[in-house]
């Protein structure tokens, strides 16, 4: 597609419910990132997928958070047993990662999913 697509754009859920957020990266981008943007914490890295490598999960705030990336393309971020502090905008980004580690990748962001936990 033309850009990173995220769905839904808004999600309202009740405390304790599970939610799934979807990200469709730019076609051909091998790297995919999830970030969270919240009032108190700014923009935080959550998880990073690169090709077939094991994902970097170092930013996930708790074991209630998980993500997968199927077929090297679409990714789903799952939050189990949602809490009010999970309310935030969840941003997905994708990029090319140049071979040889030149790392001149630019991350392109989707519009985000605004999650509200009541």
């Amino acid at each position: 597609g033309a850009g990173v697509s995220q769905s839904p754009s808004n999600k309202v859920t009740e405390k304790g419910k599970d939610v799934e957020l979807r990200c469709d990266p730019i076609s051909g981008h091998t790297a995919l990132y999830w970030y969270r943007q919240s009032l108190g914490q700014g923009l935080e890295f959550l998880i990073y997928f690169q090709g077939n490598s094991a994902p970097d999960k170092s930013g996930l705030p708790s074991d209630r958070f998980s993500a997968e990336r199927t077929g090297g393309s679409v990714s789903t971020l799952t939050i189990q047993r949602t809490q009010q502090e999970d309310s935030a905008v969840y941003l997905c980004a994708s990029s090319l990662v140049w071979a040889g580690g030149s790392g001149k990748n630019i991350q392109y962001f989707g519009a985000g999913t605004r999650l509200s936990v009541l």
Binding site: V4, Q6, A31, Y33, Y35, G42, L43, F45, Y48, Q50, D56, S58, G59, L91, A93, S95, V97, G101, S102, G103, K104, N105, I106, Q107, Y108, F109, G110, A111, G112
Partner: protein, 116 residues
Amino acid sequence: AQSVAQPEDQVNVAEGNPLTVKCTYSVSGNPYLFWYVQYPNRGLQFLLKYITGDNLVKGSYGFEAEFNKSQTSFHLKKPSALVSDSALYFCAVRDGNNNAGNMLTFGGGTRLMVKP
């Protein structure tokens, strides 16, 4: 560990005047530096980056940024501000070390208000 500081929560500028949005960083390896802009209810849009080479980097919409290694700064500038430049600006860094991972560390953001 890497970090970014944007010391100003908000910058107010009159239209037509030059603007500067400040950013300082800390990273153990070579810094890869980025500026993004966020308009209301939109994702982050890439403005410019510094990887290597000239310290003055030119980007989208007339913005530029100057990398200063000794001051560990990467301030965003524009010679003449437009009302439409009003938005939230984020500075970000990643460690250029190949094994450091590709995730970005963001500053807290600076809201730019350009008044007519």
